[in-house]
């Protein structure tokens, strides 16, 4: 018998909302959106947790400049607080070494993290999802039934190819989709907006490509001042976040 699944609900019961930032496609800005969303919410006085589930290429700790912290062991593990965010990531345990995990390992790691992490009371738990529709996505759907999805794409046909697949599946499974964010737009185009309408999902708006974003990576105070944060804040108003 697998005992871990039984305790997950208990671990998440004091969390008001769980939002998975997902895409299906890699490199579209899921981690950037998840991290800035967590910062935004925390700056607005909410209690926020951030769980990085990209176990191969965790990025949120790079974006938020998380260094030299480790979870506290106390009736489980308590995520360190980073700029007001309770932050949990595999990186505490991997020390930036490669993580050659197969699917079954991914599933076990997610179960273990969900079973032992003591989030405490949170208004929001943000999950930074990896690309694909693999074990991570299936396990979030399986074990975190009340997760809502915020889907990120870029303006490209190539990205939308993968993103449509994730959306189609979420819609089929009747999972709540908060909407789609079009990230890294450069030229004007309504291609994504049309595609999204076709799928009957809410189009939330654009985050422009920000040429100077790279300089703010690793520095949450600087990140909060970027155009990305400004564009995101506008989008978040639409869904009252």
């Amino acid at each position: 018998m697998e005992p871990r699944t039984s305790v997950i609900e208990n671990r998440l019961k004091n969390i008001n909302r769980i939002i998975a930032v997902a895409s299906g496609k890699g490199g579209v800005g899921k981690s950037m959106v998840a991290s800035t969303l967590a910062l935004h919410l925390s700056q607005h006085g909410y209690r926020v947790g951030l769980l990085d589930l990209d176990l191969y290429g965790p990025s949120s700790h790079i974006i938020l400049g998380v260094k030299n912290t480790f979870p506290k062991e106390e009736k489980g593990i308590i995520p360190p607080t980073v700029h007001g965010i309770s932050f949990m990531s595999i990186v505490y345990f991997t020390e930036e070494k490669p993580s050659p995990f197969r699917g079954i390992d991914i599933s076990n790691i997610i179960l273990e993290l969900l079973a032992i992490t003591q989030w405490g009371r949170l208004d929001f738990l943000i999950i930074d999802m990896p690309p694909g529709i693999g074990d991570e996505t299936l396990d979030v759907i399986r074990y975190i039934k009340r997760s809502e999805f915020l889907v990120v794409t870029t303006p490209s046909k190539v990205a939308m190819g993968a993103v449509s697949k994730l959306l189609t599946m979420l819609i089929e499974l009747k999972k709540p989709v908060l909407g789609i964010i079009e990230n890294m737009t450069i030229t004007k185009s309504s291609f994504i907006e049309h595609e999204v309408q076709r799928l009957q999902v809410r189009y939330l708006g654009k985050i422009h490509f920000d040429h100077t974003l790279e300089e703010s990576i690793g520095n949450p105070d600087a990140l909060s001042q970027t155009h990305v944060m400004k564009d995101l804040s506008k989008i978040l108003q639409k869904i009252k976040l």
Binding site: M1, E2, P3, V7, R11, G76, F93, R102
Partner: protein, 137 residues
């Protein structure tokens, strides 16, 4: 001390199962702990006992039988089989602690002793499992 969280998962699963089986009292709960996870047995048993108080159906005080499962690993690349106990001494304290929290971290910090591949699997003795529950109906 994160043993407490795992003990809680055992107690929750036990009670769930006992209710399904309509047990009135739980008399025996057999648990295996995988060597890889290096669970502190005393702390774990203490947590189990504490968490068992005032459960419904009640769990008898001496119900818990904890057995240790030897950890064995096998390589997908070369077919080698080996024991965690042989490999353990190569891991430093931080690495061992990370494996204590998440057993799969062994793929990050260890390699097949024969061919050096990280593409091996945990054949037995991964973590905590609930093996059987006995009770009175």
């Amino acid at each position: 001390m994160h043993e407490w969280a795992l003990a809680e998962s055992i107690v929750t699963a036990t009670v769930e199962e006992a209710r399904k089986e309509k047990l009135k009292t739980i008399t025996q709960v057999t648990i295996y702990i995988g060597e890889l996870q290096q669970i502190e047995k005393e702390i774990f048993l203490f947590a189990l006992t504490e968490l068992s108080k005032s459960q419904k159906p009640p769990i008898q005080k001496d119900a818990f039988v904890i057995k240790t499962d030897k950890s064995t690993l096998s390589c997908k690349n070369c077919g080698e089989h080996w024991k965690y106990s042989d490999m353990k001494k190569k891991l430093n304290k931080t690495e061992a602690e990370s494996i204590h929290f998440i057993p799969e971290i062994v793929f990050v910090h260890a390699r097949c002793p024969q061919c050096g591949s990280p593409d091996f699997e945990i054949t037995t003795g991964r973590g905590v499992t609930l093996s059987s529950i006995k009770g009175v109906r």
